[in-house]
Amino acid sequence: MSTSEVVRSRLLAREGGEEVYELFIGPQHPSSGHMRFIVRLDGDVIVSVDPDIGYVHRTMEKLAEGREAVKAIPLLERMTIIDSHNVTIGLVRAMEKLLDVEPPPRARYLRTLLSEINRIASHLYGIGIAGIMLNHSTMFMWAFGDREVWLQLAEELSGARLTHTYSIPGGVRRDLPQGFADRAEKAVRYMTRRLEEYAKIFLENPQVRSRYEGVGVLKRGEASRLGIVGPNLRASGVKYDARLAEDYAAYSEVSFEVPTLEEGDAYARMRLRIEEIKQSMSIILQVLRKVPEGPIFAEKYLKLLPPKLREQVLSTGRVKLPALFASMKLPAGEAVARAEMGHGEIFYHLISDGSAKPYRLRVVTPSFRNVILFRYLMPGHRFMDFPAIYGSLDYFPPEADR
């Protein structure tokens, strides 16, 4: 065996005969994202797709084990920066389980509020990217422009456009600002109107429908067998949502539907995201109506604060963490938690040996569970269906790579 044959990696080995045309999509490609796909074509038809992940692996789990548990929150936000509250609320829940602390009711409602604002922004991001993958620049610009509305709401609530670090063990960091409800209602009215325009230019556009309908069909049985999560699962007719499966934040106290569709094609996945945005807006309105008065931080921790700081927290509605909070020890034990992100269910497994740093932190992200779909949905389709299916999956490489 010659040296050149030895160094040839397994991924580069050809599958099929001479007629197979191999394309390397990414990592430097306009629509690959931070990853590489090895696409094999027979004429114009895809024979196989190998998603080659790991280009943005940042050792998130290991980094989290090297620092105090609270500091893992701003770190792990970076996995899915477009959905940063939903991505960390599971971690906060796991820490709360270990610490045996419950957030007060107002904090639970505020968590729901930011989670839904995040979900809308995340879905808009996904729809926009899906739009430009069909070279539909108007959908791309509209979705990204309208996402700004929700980012500004999130900024008003948490102080940061993207990296909110809003939920902390025992509550949330900031109280509802004055006049927030009015501005949120205005945003909901605006978005409701815009969704109709989205339907006209994109979802009901015959050109877009012909690209999406019947493309990348994920059957119900296949979806559950592969362990798919999120809108991709629900568009195949499986009604599973971590917001229902695990009671966290205030989801058991607001009424909402989990929309499902039966078709399982790219078109269903896109439509489902629109339906979820509508549900999220309904949740936001309910939360703003129902949010109870009271503290935003657990009594147990408020008592630990020096009297002057406690006074300040209660009067300004902004939690300042004293140094002792950062070095707070996690009781020895294990906790698991899951939460529903825009992309699907995220799962946390937190193990502590009694020190301030977690002994082990395991994260299973929705994109990591969905990446297998590239392998299953693509073969048999035309090469030009590749970006259409990719867009409809709302796959986010940094999240999968952690």
Binding site: N135, Q207, V208, R211, F383, M384
Partner: protein, 339 residues
């Protein structure tokens, strides 16, 4: 005086249709202006629809109209890289061939009555023939690049050419039958009412074929940024990449002029400026062609991209039969109206 005679002779030569038409109007210089402004207009229209401002900072007072000139200047100073793996001779030669093929049609397009560089009874055929030579050069560009994406793009160009070429030729044939001539100047005279109303089917199929040929949305399949990066042009850099990008607009410009002549009664109503200098009478033709181009540019704000097989199916199964029907329709109109 000998000197005066020479000057007059040079001026006469420059203003003669054989030089003025291909070089100034409607040829090279005008094409360049069209190129610079139509890309700007396309970006401005898309920006308006998409709640943005579009190009702005270059010549802010005029809404950034010189943005394309700035981009072009940047292209000029960018290194032109010839890849090791390319077929170097053809790699350099192909863009020249493409540009030549895209400019050739202006030799047959009359700007105003009696003002065409080549006045030929088969001028319409001449325009189409030279326009359909451009895809061959693009094919060569893709093939000589030695890049997998470029070859994919070249193959797409070949498929698309087969899909729209027959449609465009048949549409023009229908109008040729109706007018009883393929001479473009004659065709304008014989439009008692605009050709668009005489044979709307032919106008529609020609328009679709034109959009396909120029690679504008929803048929920008050859460039296919989301799959094959820039298709046949992926290995080109610097000004030659600019030429590749401009090629589509040049074709669009030539097609729009042809569309205006065949379907929008060309330079009619003839402006009185015609008596000052003939090409000034062609201003009306230019305005019509520009409006057609603006409409094509607007499509970008509405559509995404069709799939290759969808475009091919549409070309062969919908637009080819429609184009054949337009020929039949022309025969019918000819018998009824002119017969």
């Amino acid at each position: 005086m000998m000197g005066m005679g020479l000057l007059e002779w040079v001026l006469e030569l420059l203003l003669s249709p054989q030089v003025f038409a291909p070089v100034v109007f409607p040829g090279l210089v005008t094409a360049l202006v069209v190129l610079l402004t139509i890309i700007w207009a396309e970006r401005k229209i898309a920006a308006r629809v998409q709640m943005r401002v579009g190009p702005l900072y270059v010549t802010r007072r005029f809404g950034g109209v010189l943005q394309m000139l700035a981009d072009g200047t940047r292209y000029m100073f960018q290194e032109f890289i010839i890849p090791e793996t390319s077929d170097k001779g053809f790699f350099v030669f192909a863009p020249v061939l493409a540009l030549a093929a895209a400019i050739l049609p202006f030799a047959f397009i009359p700007a105003a009555p009696g003002f065409a560089p080549v006045k030929h009874p088969l001028a319409a055929l001449g325009v189409l023939a030279s326009l359909s030579a451009a895809p061959l050069a693009v094919l060569l560009m893709g093939w000589s690049s030695g890049n997998k994406f470029a070859i994919q793009g070249a193959v797409r160009e070949a498929f698309m050419t087969l899909a729209y070429e027959a449609v465009v030729f048949l549409s023009v044939l229908a109008m040729g039958m109706l007018y009883g001539t393929l001479d473009l100047e004659e065709a304008v005279y014989r439009q008692v009412i605009p050709g668009l109303l005489l044979n709307p089917i032919s106008a529609f199929t020609f328009f679709v074929g034109m959009v396909m040929s120029a690679g504008r949305l929803p048929f920008d399949i050859v460039e296919g940024e989301q799959e094959i990066v820039a298709g046949p042009y992926v290995e080109y850099s610097g000004i030659v990449f600019g030429i590749g990008m401009g090629l589509a607009y040049l074709k669009l410009y030539a097609f729009s002029l042809l569309f205006s002549i065949l379907y929008l009664s060309g330079w009619e109503p003839l402006l009185p400026l015609y008596s000052v200098y003939p090409p000034l009478g062609g201003l009306m033709l230019f305005v019509k062609a520009y409006a057609v181009m603006l409409f094509v540019a607007f499509l970008r704000s509405v559509y995404g991209r069709y799939r290759l097989d969808q475009a091919l199916r549409a070309g062969w199964r919908i637009f080819l039969p429609l184009a054949l029907a337009s020929v039949m329709f022309s025969a019918f109109v000819k018998v009824v109206a002119y017969g």
